[in-house]
């Protein structure tokens, strides 16, 4: 059978190859995270039985047996991998509930935050970049670049604390931490995305409170991306505006607006696509800190708690999830990039 030569054939083969390799990569990720968490000189028992009972032989023996910690390292690994192929990520030492369930429960919160941050970062970054490029070396350009610098240089946890303090505690303009107002019940669970669930269940009175509470953490998280994208767009736009085709477009009498937005910006957006795609991973890792500050019950705060208490099953589960997200987001980015730029070869 000859190799596909059509575009969609090539695309299909490209995606298929990446999907086939994915399980092996995940296997490697699981093995490495398992090894690292087991071999660091730390004792998970303290989070299971408490400091007071660490020297109680009856309690410790029962805990070790319950959580499989009385087995050899290889025995624990075999057990874990045997369950993993059945889709069982184990029971969290800390929450005492299945890790799969814990992650599924928390994923919507993190995605809601990360995608909103990505929206802010991308749209805001493009707008700022366009503004800066169109007002080059003028006041708006300087302000825009300063804004970008602040966002991309300062740590996200500091930004989060500051915006919370300024806009919630001092000015009272924005609501406080948490996905919902304290005295409000969550919408009926359908997707776990509160915004969608509120709309799908017709609970429209919840939509605005949910959006409000999403704004600050998403802004704090997306500010860094906004900074990167705005500088990228500005730089790309300025390059494109020097290109021959722009000169031609202007000579043909097209308005500056059309030249800017329809021609130059379109080409300047290609690198933005790449950065946005790769930013998923950094937004998710940034969400770890943002979730802690804004009491956002997502995968990030779960990962922090798991790491601090050496919750082996949860740590491995988060690593697998992170690996899958990273691999899939890279695949999607590559596919979109190939679709957007015909010059990209899939072979």
């Amino acid at each position: 059978m000859s190799a596909p030569t059509s575009y969609w054939g090539l695309m299909f083969r490209f995606i298929f190859r990446r999907l086939v390799v994915m399980p092996f990569l995940l296997f490697g990720i699981v093995t490495i995270s398992f090894a690292i968490s087991r071999f660091i000189p730390s004792d998970p028992l303290i989070s299971i039985v408490g400091e007071r009972q660490l020297n109680n032989p009856v309690v410790v023996a029962a805990a070790k047996q319950r959580w499989g910690l009385d087995k050899s390292m290889f025995g624990q690994y075999s057990s874990y991998m045997g369950n993993l192929v059945k889709g069982d990520l184990g029971i969290s030492f800390r929450t005492k509930t299945p890790v799969v369930g814990d992650l599924i429960d928390r994923l919507p919160a993190t995605f809601e935050l990360a995608f909103t941050a990505m929206f802010f970062g991308t749209v805001g970054g493009v707008l700022l970049g366009v503004l800066a490029a169109s007002r080059r070396n003028k006041f708006a350009d300087h302000v825009s670049r300063l804004f970008a610098l602040v966002g991309s240089s300062l740590p996200v946890f500091w930004l989060g604390l500051v915006v919370l303090y300024v806009f919630y505690a001092r000015l009272g303009l924005m609501p406080g931490p948490g996905r919902l107002p304290p005295r409000v019940d969550s919408p009926e669970h359908i997707t776990g995305f509160y915004l969608f669930d509120a709309m799908l269940t017709g609970n429209f009175s919840l939509v605005w409170p949910i959006l409000q509470r999403l704004l600050l953490p998403a802004f704090a998280l997306g500010w860094g991306l906004m900074g990167i994208i705005s500088r990228l767009v500005r730089s790309s736009m300025l390059d494109e505006l020097q290109a021959d085709y722009v000169r031609t477009a202007r000579a043909k009498g097209l308005t500056e607006r059309i030249v800017f937005l329809k021609h130059a910006l379109r080409n300047a957006l290609l690198p933005v696509l790449t950065v946005s795609g790769f930013s998923i991973a950094s937004l998710l890792t940034g969400a770890v800190l943002t979730e802690t500050i804004f009491s956002w019950n997502g995968v990030g705060s779960y990962a922090v708690a798991a790491t601090r208490s050496l919750d082996y099953p949860a740590i491995n589960g988060v690593c697998i999830l992170g690996g899958m997200i990273f691999l899939i987001s890279n695949l999607v980015t590559d596919v979109l990039y190939a679709y957007a730029d015909p010059k990209i070869r899939l072979q």
Binding site: I40, P41, S42, D43, P44, I46, S47, V49, G50, E51, R52, Q53, L54, N55, N56, V58, V59, A61, A62, Q65, R66, R94, T95, K96, T97, D105, R106, L164, Y165, F167, Y168, A169, G172, L173, M174, P175, G176, P177, G178, P181, P182, R183, V184, W208, P209, Q212, L215, G253, T255, E256, R257, I293, S295, N297, S301, Y302, A305, R308, S309, L310
Partner: protein, 551 residues
Amino acid sequence: MKNLNHGLVKRKKRGRLAIAGVALATLVIASCGGSSSSSTDTDSSARELIVARDMDINSLDPSRTYCDTCQIYMAATYETLIGLDVNDPSIQIPRIATTWEANADNTVFTFALNSDAKFSDGSSITSADVKWSWERLMNIKGSASYFLDGVSSLEAPDDATVVVTFAAPNSAFLAIVSSTYMSIVNSKVASEEGNAIAASGADTTDLAEQWFFTNSAGSGPYTLESYTEGDSLVLVRNENYWGTPAVFPKVTIKQVKDASAQLQLLQNGDADIAMQLSFDSISQLDGNASVVATPKDSYNYVYIALSPGAKGAENLKDPKVREAIKLAIDYDGMIDITVAGNGKKQASPIPNGFTGSADLALPAQDIEKAKALMAEAGKESGFSIDAIFPNANVYGVDFNVMMQKAQQDLKAINIELVLQPVEWAKWSETIKAQGIPITAVYFAPDHTDSSQYVQYFGMIEGSSWAKRAGGGAAGTPVSNPTEKDLLAKALAAGSDAKAGLYTQLGQELINDLVILPMVNPQLVIANASDIEGMHYSACCNLELGKLTLKK
């Protein structure tokens, strides 16, 4: 050109419109933003109570719970046979049991149950439920199972009587019974619906823990509505409660990790109670008429532990060196720097307010005496020693700050503390593997009897800190057989004799020079000013069923 100018004019107009749009949006957000509080209830008895707290829940299974928030939960949804007076924890009050008695040598305890006591499903509480609950606690082998160590039999001769027999005297048992970890579970509901098992082997066969995350099976003023880990714990009023009904129909404990975030929620009316505010927040609440913040004495404390048997702790084997360390610490300064003066000194590992703490001399700094002791020990030139401690902030005390203060103080006697803050898991591994010469930990009581402190801190065989410090047995760097004898006497003694015995035990613990209490911090309890009955409870932290509203 003409087109460009036209374009420029249009751009400027659009620019102004955009600015106006952003300004309008900001105004709309601002008008809707800020405190989303509370529905301003006209009927205050219908108000939901919101508690902001960093929850440390390890389980909601009554036989597995072992944490501060767990005590609050258990006291709300379950009940014990005996309760404690909120204002004086030495006074025991009837709860599920109407009367109780111990025999002369504190080996047999008999409880008579209240026939009016009912579970939340309306069924009566019987001795079978008590037996089942305590057997399950023993057999699950969770962290609180040690409460029933030494039980030789647990009998329910009739529906209203429970008889517990110990192999050896145990005068602590009545105090232990009042601990929330000894709560009584609806055995029928838990076993039929939750598949909970109480029999021997339950540690490997029982799978009810997950059922308890969505169900409570108690007799308390509240029942569990829902628990979302990392988010909230929601309780609703038990409408079948056999005692005085709770005032608040619903209580939500919201997970809020940060003390400053708790403060902000309280100030904005988004929370009614904040349980872990920092000490500087008291001044921030001055002038806020809608909030009351009161520091309350607690029985919790943080301490520094010296382990002469640990690797690298050879210099600590000489008790003169350990005493010099104790005398070099500036305890008043320690309280100022860690808790802004909102704490007390404590004489021995038996906390202020517990039996045996009253007549002991409080620690005081004496640098000259410390130097003299170091000289007598031949360590005048000093030494360097590792101080590995958890990177934690417990009860408002930042361990990093505390150890830095200790480091500074010990320089006066030429001891250099090499500070190494680590995560709890690493601390646990290190102390298990090789011991830690100097470390910092905390203690909060599991129940209200002083025996727990001797059993945990005494330099006697089997004690946790004897093992960690490399002591306990004869021939080890630190052992104190007097403590073992005194403890046996205290456990066999009646209440009149206990105080004197525990005072002696307190002095022996001081003489061990292993556990050096640093600060007994107060707790800042802050609440909306219309809430009454706020307290700190020795058994339960906070009994939600006792809170009311000002009329």
